[in-house]
Symmetry: C2
Subunit: 307 residues, 2 copies
C-alpha cells in the first residue's frame, strides 16, 4: 500500500526549559514521513523547500523509502522557518519567528507516479491547498486524513468547511476542537465536528492522550507518562505519521484497526519528544518501537469481571 | 471485609456554569461512604456533624450499610460548611465560604466495634488526626489509603511526612503531587513521593483520568468522556470510595486488583459529576454501575499484535 503525505519541510529553532537549538530540521511533512516510513514504503511526499534545505536530509529520507518526486526545490528562496519557545508546562508556546519563505509559493502538484495511492495524509496547511490535492487524485484514496489549526478557522473557515466535507478523519487538538465547534465539552464538540463531514475524529490532548470518535463509539489512548518531555515540537505530526503508517501497512480502515493505529501513533510521538526535533526518530529501530507499543499495552491493560 | 472511613460530613453550597445550589449535603466522608457502600458493608464511618445535619441523611446512610457509631453529633454547633464557585473549565474553583464549625472539635475516636477492620480510608484531614486514627487501631489494616491536599503541605508538612510513612497508598491530584515533590514531571514526582513512604501512589487528573504508580509499574485509567460535567464536587472522594469498596469487597491488594479498583473508582466518579452533590450516587443501581464499568472496558480496550 502507498501513502501520500502533504506537509511542510522546514527549519525550526526551538527553546524549551531544557535547552535551545540553532536551526534544525522541522516541518509537519518531515515528521510524518519519518514516523510513517517505519511502517510503509513508499511514503510519497508532497512539499516545497528552498535552496538551503540540506541534501543529506533529503538523502536520509530517500534511504528510508520516502519518495521526494513531488518535493519542489525553489532555488531562489529559503525554506520555511519557524522559531518558538515553550513554557514550563510544555503545552503552550510562543512563536518568535515565522518566515513563510517558499511556503508562499506552495502549489502542490500530484505526479502520475503518485496516482492510485490508497492513503492520503494532509498535514496542517491552507485548506485551499488541501482541497487542491484531493481534487488532483484520479482515484479517491481509501482513507483521507487531515490536520488543521486554529489559524485557518480564523481566516479561512469557509474553505476549511469545504475540505472537511471531503475527508474521512480529522485530527485536531482539544483547543482546536473547541474552537471549531464552539463547544467546550469535548464530547459535544466531537458530535458537531463529525456533523461537518469527517466520519472519524481524533482529538489529541498532548500529555493527556488522544480520543477517537466515530458515530457513538469512543476510544481513548493515553500518552506514555515520561520523566521528561524534552521537546514537544512535531509530536502531533509524528502521531499522525505512526497512525497513517499503521493503517497503510495493515490496509484496514476498521474502527478496531484505527484504535491500534492510535496506539502506534502515540508510541511514535512518545519517542519524538525525547530529543530535539526529529533526532530521536532517526535513531529508533523496530525493536524500540515494538517495546514501546508493549509499554502502552501494559499501561492500560486491565482485566475486570463484572459480576 | 470491613472498611473504616474517616472524613467530613458537611454542607456545601455550589455554583457551577450550569446552576447553583442552596446548602446541600457534602463532605469527603459522605461521598466515600455513598460510593463504597455499593461494594462493601459495613462501612464504618468516623466523622463529626453538628445539630443541623439532617437525620434523614443519617438514616439513608445507615440503610445503605454505613455504620455511624463513630460519627459524633455536637448538639451545640453547626456542621462544617463550604461554599465554592467553579470556573468554566471545571478544573478550578474559588472557595467563597469555609466555616469549620464542628471540625474545630474533631477528635476521632475508634470504638471497639471498629477494631479489626481490614481496610482504612483516611479522607483529606489534618495529618495529626489521620495519624491519631492509625495509632488507635490495635491491628494494622491490610491497606491504609490516605488523601491530603496542598493546604496541609503548606501548614503541616512535618506532620504530613510522618503520616506518609504510615500508609500504603496516597491519593492526590496532579498539582498536589507536584507541590508535595517539588517536581514538575509527574513521573519524577511519583518516584519522590513513593520514597517518602507510600508504596503505591494514585495521581488523579480529573477529566484526564488517573495514574497508579508502584515501584517501576504504572497503570493509567481514563476518565469517561462526558457531554457535561455538571458538578465535580466530591468526584475525588467518590473515586476513593469506589476504589476502597472494590478492594474491600475482593479482599485483594495486588497491583492487578488495584488496577480494577481504579476503574471502579473512575466509574463511580463519572456518576458523581452528573448531578449536584451526592444526588446521583443516591439513585444508581448495581446495573448502572456494571454498565458504566463496561463503558470503561470499551473505552480503552484494544487488541494489538506486535510482529
Amino acid at each position: 500500500m502507498s501513502l501520500i503525505v502533504v506537509g511542510t519541510m522546514a527549519f525550526d529553532a526551538i527553546e524549551t526549559p531544557f535547552g535551545k537549538t540553532d536551526k534544525i530540521i522541522g516541518g509537519s511533512g518531515t515528521y510524518v514521513a519519518y514516523a510513517a516510513s517505519n511502517f510503509v514504503k513508499p511514503v510519497k511526499q508532497v512539499s516545497i523547500v528552498g535552496y538551503d534545505f540540506p541534501k543529506e536530509e533529503m538523502d536520509n529520507l530517500t534511504s528510508r523509502g520516502v519518495d521526494l518526486e513531488a518535493v519542489e526545490i525553489k532555488q531562489d528562496k529559503k525554506s520555511f522557518f519557524w522559531s518558538g519557545k515553550y513554557h514550563l508546562d510544555m503545552n503552550t508556546r510562543d512563536s518568535l519567528v515565522t518566515d513563510l519563505n517558499v511556503l508562499l509559493d506552495f502549489n502542490p502538484q500530484i505526479p502520475d507516479s503518485y496516482q492510485g495511492a490508497e492513503y492520503l495524509m494532509l498535514g496542517n496547511l491552507d485548506p485551499k491547498l488541501q482541497k487542491q490535492v484531493i481534487e488532483q487524485l484520479k482515484v479517491r484514496p481509501k482513507l483521507i486524513v487531515m490536520d488543521t489549526m486554529n489559524f485557518w478557522m480564523e481566516i479561512a473557515m469557509p474553505q476549511l468547511e469545504e475540505v472537511l466535507k471531503m475527508v474521512d478523519v480529522l485530527m485536531v487538538n482539544d483547543s482546536e476542537a473547541r474552537q471549531l465547534s464552539g463547544e467546550f465539552s469535548i464530547v459535544k464538540a466531537a458530535k458537531k465536528i463529525m456533523a461537518m463531514g469527517p466520519k472519524y475524529l481524533i482529538i489529541k490532548k498532548g500529555e493527556h492522550g488522544a480520543l477517537l470518535f466515530h458515530e457513538n463509539q469512543v476510544f481513548f489512548a493515553p500518552a506514555l507518562p515520561l520523566e521528561e518531555v524534552f521537546d514537544p515540537t512535531g509530536a502531533g505530526d509524528t502521531f499522525a505519521g505512526g497512525f497513517m503508517g499503521h493503517i497503510a501497512k495493515t490496509n484496514d480502515i476498521s474502527f478496531e484497526n484505527m484504535k491500534r493505529a492510535i496506539i502506534v501513533g502515540s508510541a511514535m510521538a512518545s519517542f519524538c519528544v525525547e530529543k530535539f526535533g526529529p533526532e530521536r526518530l532517526r535513531e529508533i529501530t523496530k525493536a524500540d518501537i515494538d517495546a514501546r507499543i508493549q509499554q502502552f499495552v501494559d499501561l492500560v491493560n486491565f482485566d475486570i469481571v463484572i459480576n
